[in-house]
Each structure stands twice: as structure tokens, then as C-alpha cells.
């Protein structure tokens, strides 16, 4: 469904991603792993369309979208949860979620109650400003904002980074549930936790120094341990 071919991304003059080809099949959870600074977030951002200087091809549902802007991709069904959450700080929680609906085709401006079942805390806090929430709550909000438009491809960039353990569990639970319930939705997940990645992903890519150095549907600790450890 999503295909990257010979993706090359550079910041100014320096090339940070070279010749990355990967694909995400419909309904699959694909996990992108690797140490810090190897280019995982850059790949995700290139897929979402917020970087300049992207060469190669990005193909989604048979359509080449390499040069399309991010808002076009969002309307095509991309849901994005960036690293650092990037919620709109001065907008209320409710407004943040409803902005997630911008990408959805039906223009009825009401929030699916399902979202609140995943994250009940957001309903309690719906009139608070997004910037006043704690880090974990902001992360939940960012995920809810991406989910509310019923995306066909969900891009999650380290959704559990720097968050208290019980919220990490909640988030992991939600990802698993999306995988089970919404068989139409594909997920591309950047994740550091070995165990969680193993429990949820159908396919793995490991990135090192801007290239894909390992791929497979199994993650065997002996083979990949060296690529992931510091």
C-alpha cells in the first residue's frame, strides 16, 4: 500500500537517508527500529511530506505522492503522531481533536465516541488548553487527533518516549486494538522497546546510518542486538 523506493533525503548539503526502500502492506503493523540519530524520524517526516529535498519515489495506493504537500497526504488518509507530540498548545483539547477531522472526507464536525473510549481522560479535559496537559496526556491527545479521521495509514514516531509506564501501557494497548479491530489501517511505528515491537509488529526494518540494514518478519535478538544496542 505504501512503498518507498530509493528514498534519499538531505538536510541542506548533507545526505542523511540513502537508498531506503520499504513497504507497508494493508493492515500491517511495520516497525522501524534503530539507535538514536540514524534517521528514523527523517524517514517518517519524508513520508508525511514535511521535508524538502526528498528524492526517490513515495507511492501510496498506486499513486506517486513524492512531491505532494503534507495536507494532500493527510486527506489521502495519513495520520501523523510526531515525536514531541506537536499538539496545538493554545487550543482546547476538543479543538485539537476536531482539527484531526480536517483530513476526513465527511464534513460532519463531531467526534467519534470511540476516541474517548480509547482515552477517557481526554473527555474529562476537553475544555482545557492542550498546552496545559501533562506530557503523557499530550501524547494521548496527539494519537487521538490522528485517529479521529480514521486514517488508512498511521505514522507513529516513538509514541511511548518519555512517558510514565501506565500510560505507555494504555498506548500500547490502543495500538494493539487498532491492529485487531481496524483491519484496513496500516501502521508504521518507530519504537525503541524491543518487547513491545515484537509483540505488535508484523514486519521489521532496522535503520543504521541512513540505510536499512535489516528487514524481516522476525526479530531475532542475537542477530539484531548489536544493531540496536548502544
Amino acid at each position: 500500500m505504501l512503498q518507498l523506493q530509493q528514498l534519499e533525503v538531505s538536510y541542506e548539503e548533507s545526505i542523511v537517508i540513502r537508498d531506503v526502500s520499504l513497504q507497508v502492506k494493508k493492515g500491517d503493523v511495520v516497525c522501524l527500529m534503530g539507535r538514536n540519530g540514524v534517521g528514523k524520524t527523517t524517514i517518517i517526516k519524508a513520508i508525511m511530506g514535511i521535508l524538502q529535498n526528498v528524492k526517490g519515489q513515495i507511492i501510496y495506493q498506486g499513486e506517486e505522492i513524492t512531491n505532494k504537500p503534507a495536507n494532500y497526504r493527510a486527506r489521502k488518509g495519513f495520520g501523523f503522531v510526531p515525536q514531541g507530540r506537536d499538539i496545538f498548545p493554545q487550543l482546547t483539547v476538543y479543538e485539537n481533536i476536531i482539527l484531526g477531522m480536517e483530513a476526513s472526507k465527511n464534513k460532519k464536525q463531531s467526534i467519534d465516541e470511540e476516541i474517548y473510549q480509547y482515552f477517557p481522560v481526554l473527555k474529562e479535559m476537553k475544555d482545557r488548553r492542550g498546552g496545559d496537559l501533562s506530557g503523557g496526556q499530550q501524547q494521548q491527545l496527539a494519537i487521538a487527533r490522528a485517529l479521529v479521521s480514521k486514517p488508512s495509514l498511521l505514522l507513529l514516531d516513538e509514541p511511548t518516549e518519555g512517558i510514565q509506564p501506565n500510560i505507555v501501557e494504555d498506548i500500547q494497548h490502543v495500538i494493539k486494538e487498532i491492529k485487531q479491530k481496524q483491519s484496513e489501517t496500516s501502521i508504521l511505528l518507530v519504537e525503541q522497546s524491543f518487547d513491545f515491537a515484537k509483540s505488535v509488529a508484523d514486519y521489521f526494518y532496522i535503520v543504521d546510518k541512513g540505510r536499512v540494514v535489516y528487514e524481516g518478519s522476525e526479530l531475532i535478538e542475537e542477530q539484531v542486538g548489536q544493531l540496536l544496542s548502544v
Binding site: M48, I50, P69, A70, N71, A74, R75, F78, F80, P82, G84, R85, D86, I87, F88, P89, Q90, L91, E95, I98, L99, G100, E102, A103, S104, Q109, G131, D132, G135, Q138, R145, A146, S149, G162
Partner: protein, 300 residues
């Protein structure tokens, strides 16, 4: 005591005009980080639109309808200035996003072109308008006699402010505008067309400047440089209020307006200006980001 009250009222009236001018600047600066030096010329366009409306009414309409011209001139000034603003955004500013210095120079140039155009069309001497009859005379407020025009101006500014606040905080496209203001990249990632938000917001900012121009015709002559007189003060209001905050702009507009009039009353016109600028410089030492600023606990 009464003299001071009258000065305070004049300050309120000056503040409301400053507010209207600064609102347009604040939303364009807050949204796109573009310092629009041609803002003063958008004011001028609004003022000349009013003058043109008056000319049309005196020549082609029955005399009994004359008073209507001003009521119609306000929306017309908004529309004409907004269209010019859109054109400006589309042809010049769009290409200069992220380059504050270049956009400052380019809009300054556009401002000069617009001034010269006005001079070619309407001539260099100032023109004036005849106030509609319902704005003549004075009115008794708390025992003071104040001109009706001033009351009208304050009322109109309040109406504009309410409409703008309603647009920004209660409508879908206002919500989109605020989202782009706060995080442009993420806004486009949720599917907002930032191009469309940019051009609409710029048009609204320009339109408000047009309305300000229409109002200015009530208190002074109309000339090609009418905008330049107010634009510096309006920039001060934006800086003191804090970028991107509506409430900050409101507070600082009335603050600067009232202080300005009071200082001028206690000293004289030039000394008053000096004092207000000294105060602003001191204030910015204390709070560099203005009265109100965006503060959050988002992860950096």
C-alpha cells in the same frame, strides 16, 4: 478633573483607532511572521474608497440618500482593501515567507508604489469628506460633551473586534487559522491547506486596515500618506501587546492611546511622543515578549 476625563476619553478614541490598525498587523505578523510595511497604504486605500463612495453618491444619487454613503463605505473599504491585500500576498509576500528582512523591504516598496498611485489618481493635495448628518454634533456622556463621531468610532471598533473574535474563536476557519499560527507544520499534517489560510488571513488583516482608513476620514483629511502617520504607533501596539495575542493587542492599544493623549496634555505634542517611546523601551526591557505571550509546556 473634567479636563483629564476629556483627555482620557480622547485617549480611548485614539486607542480604538490604533487598535483597529494594529489588529490587522497583529494577525498577519502573528500568522506569517511577515512585517507588512504596506499596511499603512491599505489604510489609505480604505480612506480613498470612502472618498470615492462620497463622490459617487453626490453625483449619481438623490441628495436624500447622501448619509447612506458612509454606511456603505465601511464594507466597501473592507472589500477593496482585502482584495488589494490578497493581490499583494499572492504576488509578493508568498514568495518571501521565512525571509523577514526581504519581505519588510518588498512591502515597503509596494507601499511607496501604492502611495504614488494614489497621488497620480487623486492628486497630491489632501481631500476631505463631509461627515454624514447623523454623526454631527455632540453628546452628553457623564456630564461631558463629546463629539458623536468619537462615540461612533469606538462603537465601530468594538463591533469589528467582536466580529474578529467570533471568527477566530468560534468558526471552523478561525480554528484553522489559530492552528496554523501555533504550529504551521503540524497544521498541514492534519490536512489544513496552509496556503488558503495564509491568503484568507492576510485578506482579513488588510480589510480591517481598510475599515480603519474609512474611520480616519471622519477625523482628518485624506492624503496619500495618511497611513504612515499611524503605522509606527500601530507597530508599537503590536510589540507591546505580544505577538499573536488578540487580548494583548487590545490592552496595549488602549494603554498606548490613553497614555499618549495624557502625556501630550501634560507636556506638548513632541514631548508626549518622546515620553511614550521611553516608556515602551523601558517596558520591553522588562518584558521583551510583550504583555501577553504564548507559553506552554510542549516538548522542545
Amino acid at each position: 478633573m473634567e479636563a483629564i476625563l476629556i483627555q482620557a476619553f480622547n485617549g480611548l478614541s485614539l486607542g480604538s483607532i490604533l487598535l483597529l490598525i494594529a489588529l490587522g498587523l497583529a494577525i498577519t505578523f502573528g500568522l506569517m511572521k511577515v512585517i507588512n510595511m504596506a499596511h499603512g497604504e491599505l489604510i489609505m486605500i480604505g480612506a480613498y474608497t470612502t472618498y470615492v463612495m462620497q463622490t459617487i453618491f453626490t453625483q449619481y444619487m438623490p441628495a436624500g440618500l447622501f448619509d447612506l454613503y458612509f454606511i456603505l463605505a465601511i464594507p466597501c473599504a473592507f472589500i477593496v482593501a482585502a482584495l488589494v491585500g490578497m493581490l499583494l500576498e499572492y504576488t509578493v509576500i508568498r514568495h518571501l515567507y521565512g525571509r523577514p528582512l526581504d519581505s519588510l523591504l518588498a512591502t515597503f516598496g509596494v507601499g511607496l508604489i501604492l502611495q504614488q498611485t494614489a497621488r497620480s489618481i487623486f492628486g497630491a493635495p489632501n481631500v476631505g469628506i463631509v461627515s454624514p448628518s447623523f454623526l454631527e454634533g455632540g453628546m452628553n456622556v457623564f456630564g461631558m460633551t463629546v463629539p458623536v463621531t468619537r462615540i461612533f468610532i469606538i462603537g465601530l471598533v468594538v463591533v469589528c473586534l467582536l466580529i474578529l473574535a467570533f471568527y477566530l474563536y468560534k468558526t471552523n476557519s478561525g480554528r484553522r487559522t489559530r492552528a496554523v499560527m501555533q504550529n504551521r507544520e503540524m497544521a498541514s499534517c492534519v490536512g489544513i491547506s496552509t496556503r488558503r489560510v495564509d491568503i484568507t488571513t492576510f485578506a482579513i488583516g488588510a480589510g480591517i486596515a481598510g475599515v480603519a482608513g474609512a474611520i480616519l476620514t471622519l477625523i482628518g483629511p485624506i492624503g496619500p500618506a495618511i497611513g504612515t502617520y499611524y503605522i509606527v504607533d500601530a507597530f508599537m501596539v503590536v510589540v507591546v501587546g505580544g505577538v499573536g495575542m488578540l487580548v494583548g493587542t487590545v490592552v496595549s492599544a488602549f494603554g498606548v492611546g490613553v497614555m499618549n493623549t495624557l502625556f501630550e496634555y501634560w507636556t506638548d505634542a513632541s514631548m508626549g511622543k518622546v515620553l511614550i517611546f521611553v516608556l515602551i523601551v523601558l517596558f520591553l526591557q522588562w518584558r521583551p515578549s510583550g504583555l501577553f505571550s504564548l507559553r506552554t509546556r510542549s516538548l522542545d
